[in-house]
């Protein structure tokens, strides 16, 4: 970056919760119509995204809950899929969720026209199922926590400032709000703050955090790649999969109303299954589990943001987000693409160059 961004330091011990009164101020000022952010649910046992207009509801708000339930991208898509209707929204979410929203906007399923994305440095989340069972239910997660999801442990974009406005924070780092563009600057102004502070401390912290995660990502996903290379080993990784397709439904990127693989399952006749079983001696049911996962990788690994929603939602304990991360790191780097990082860059499969993807010997790929 040629010119280092400046930011507004917030005098607060509260980390991301320091955002809440600022959001209330922006709402009262009337420059935004509503805020989208996680609220504690009425049972006090989880969090859900709520589009808030009445600032009193913000009392239940937690901008950075310890667990990810529905991803922010899906929440935003449910609201704006058919157009944002001119409602000016401040949408507060983690970097991977915001990247999901950005990918969905490229697919025409999120309307960002009147949305100001506010992202935050993210320490990760604890596994949803452990949180739901109650055996791991912290009220917040910090940057040193070891209990975070495996996918978070290897997230090198946990502090990616993809929002219009980004909150830097952490141990020994006072919260600092940094506008990344014009829209972010306006939001900051509406909160009654000015971007006058120096951000170098935040930048140093982020780069060392990211470096550490990047190394771990390469190491762990490398190990997984070895452990699941070849069809047999991949089958073992997917062995407990019951082919329920819940990973697909929890994924913010899987963009189809009726998934291609939900239709396929019903195309096999009884006799076809019987013939296949006879040819092979036996047939596991439901069939096409591998086909589903490979096909899904084909459809969306270029847009996978490694948010882990799939793994959180898997009832069978398949490390599905890690498998997708392993694949999508490859597919995305082949196209010099990193999902959700650049709003201007088109999704790789809907664009091409006349001469590209050639190896040194002129061979494709």
């Amino acid at each position: 970056m040629s010119e280092a961004p400046r930011g507004a330091t917030i005098q607060s011990e509260e980390g991301p919760r320091a955002l809440v009164p600022l959001l209330a101020r922006a709402l009262e000022k009337g420059t935004s119509d509503a805020v989208l952010l996680p609220l504690r649910t009425p049972g006090q046992d989880s969090y859900a995204f709520v589009l808030v207009k009445d600032p009193r509801l913000l009392r239940q708000a937690d901008p950075l809950p310890p667990v990810q339930t529905v991803t922010g991208g899906r929440a935003l898509s449910s609201l704006t899929r058919h157009g944002g209707g001119g409602v000016r929204i401040l949408a507060v979410m983690r970097p991977c969720e915001a990247r999901g929203a950005i990918e969905l906007s490229k697919l025409g399923q999120v309307d960002l026209k009147d949305v100001t994305l506010i992202t935050m440095d993210c320490p990760g989340t604890v596994p949803l199922q452990r949180f739901a069972r109650g055996d791991l239910r912290p009220s917040a997660v910090g940057f040193a926590d070891q209990d975070i999801r495996p996918i978070c442990q290897v997230c090198d974009l946990s502090c990616a400032a993809v929002g219009d406005l980004h909150l830097g924070w952490g141990e020994g780092l006072a919260p600092i709000l940094i506008p990344m563009d014009e829209r972010g600057a306006e939001a900051l102004l509406a909160m009654g703050l000015r971007a006058e502070g120096d951000t170098s401390e935040w930048r140093t912290t982020v780069s060392s955090r990211s470096q550490e995660r990047r190394e771990r990502r390469e190491e762990r996903l490398g190990q997984l790649r070895v452990a699941s290379s070849g069809l047999d080993n991949l089958m073992v990784r997917l062995d407990s999969c019951i082919n329920c397709h819940n990973c697909m439904r929890a994924c913010p990127i899987c963009y189809c109303r009726v998934c291609a693989f939900d239709i396929r399952r019903q195309e096999r006749s009884a006799n076809e299954v019987l013939d296949l079983a006879k040819a092979r001696g036996s047939m596991r049911l439901p069939m096409d589990t591998l086909m589903f996962h490979l096909g899904r990788m084909n459809h969306m690994s270029l847009n996978c943001v490694s948010c882990g929603a799939c793994e959180d939602a898997c009832p069978a304990g398949v490390p599905i987000a890690q498998l997708f991360a392993m694949v999508s790191d490859r597919t995305q780097s082949a196209f010099k693409y990193r999902a959700g990082m650049d709003r201007q860059q088109r999704s790789p499969l809907i664009t091409f160059l006349e001469k590209e993807l050639e190896g040194e010997d002129g061979q494709r790929c």
Partner: protein
């Protein structure tokens, strides 16, 4: 009915051997049963030959998928050509019968072997690894003592005797197990497979002991979170719902390729959301959580077989199957209907009596 055959005391080995004999003598083209997956888990298989077949684990106490759902997917387009032995639990069979009534499956050529059911363990146990000893302890259930760790749906299941199976594995006297016939076909199969085995019958005392335990279990499981007192409780229970719809996809009764609640007519339009936002000051996104669950009850509660599969797959541990059981039982009782009891019995909402119920809700 034809006589039943004594298959001994050693479960599950005795059951495996009985299935083996049936396969050898029954003229089946294949067997639909739980079996060991390559990675050591358990799932359903359609197995046709002995050599190369996975280790068959008939009626292993888990339900990775609802067999009725799998059979539906297979027979949606028409009957199975050759005779297949299908080994499932009572609620799976009942679920399949319900879907056959909806013309989405076909019973032809399927011969059912079921069991006086002791229940199954949660799905999560499969991925957590299996302790072999657990299986042996499990098969002691006919003494009516509760098996620790069963799914709540099973703890409270009072429909543990299959209605329409051709063959039923049942507790017999003195700790023995019997393979009994539920149909003439079943009787013939037993004659052929066990020409010289001693005769044995279901033991009414064991059934009674189980029924007593299950009634108490039912009271217990329905008394906690599933005991909702109106909308505010519903909002609490479903507050943690992530809207993944895994519950409806796992359900043997939910029969739609495109669920109403995933169709475009259920998607929110900002024009309408705006009004709600004004009135309430806030709206959940995605909205419609409670509507999905109540709406789903409206679609399938008449046929809910309380199989527990919905709850097994719920990533956030919502007692979905208990809620559906509670509602399902109430609706079914009103119509004196037992889902899956008889394939010829009409679905309560597809039939009527001219002289029944008056105006509603006065």
């Amino acid at each position: 009915m034809a006589r039943g055959a004594d298959i001994g005391t050693e479960m599950p080995k005795a059951l495996r051997e009985a299935v083996q004999r049936l396969m050898e003598t029954g003229g089946f083209e294949g067997t639909f049963t739980l079996a060991r997956t390559p990675g050591g888990g358990v799932d359903y298989f359609l197995s046709t030959k002995e050599e190369g077949a996975p280790e068959l684990l008939p009626l292993h106490p888990v339900m990775p998928n609802h067999a009725g759902r799998l059979l539906r997917e297979m027979t949606l387009g028409g009957a199975m050509r050759g005779k297949v032995l299908v080994i499932t639990r009572p609620c799976e069979l009942r679920g399949f019968v319900e879907i056959v009534k909806r013309l989405q499956g076909c019973l032809d050529n399927l011969v059912f072997l079921s069991v006086v059911c002791g229940g199954v363990f949660p799905l999560s146990m499969v991925s957590a690894g299996w302790d072999g000893k657990r299986t042996e302890e499990y098969w002691a259930y006919p003494d009516g003592r509760p098996v620790q760790g069963l799914r709540p749906a099973c703890q409270g299941c009072t429909e543990f005797i299959p209605y329409t199976a051709d063959l039923v594995v049942a507790p017999s006297a003195n700790g023995h197990w019997a393979l009994t016939a539920g149909s003439e076909e079943g009787g013939r199969l037993i004659e052929r497979a066990f020409p010289s085995a001693p005769a044995a019958e279901m033991d009414p005392k064991a059934l009674e002991a189980m029924a007593v335990a299950r009634k108490a279990g039912r009271e217990e499981v329905l008394s906690h979170e599933a005991d909702v007192k109106g909308l505010s409780d519903l909002v609490k229970v479903f507050g943690r719902c992530i809207g993944c719809h895994a519950c409806s996809k796992a359900c043997p009764i939910c029969y739609c390729t495109l669920c109403t609640f995933e169709s475009s007519r259920m998607e929110d339009r900002m024009e309408q959301s705006k009004g709600q936002l004004e009135v309430k000051g806030g709206i959940r996104a995605p909205a419609g959580t409670v509507l999905f669950h109540i709406g789903r009850m409206g679609h399938m509660a008449v046929s809910c077989v309380a199989c527990g599969c919905c709850q097994d797959v719920c990533p956030v541990g919502i007692p979905v199957s208990l809620l559906f059981k509670k509602v399902g039982e109430a609706v079914q009782a009103r119509f004196e209907y037992v889902p899956g009891r008889d394939v010829k019995e009409a679905l309560p909402i597809n039939t009527f009596q001219p002289m029944e119920f008056k105006e509603v809700g006065e």
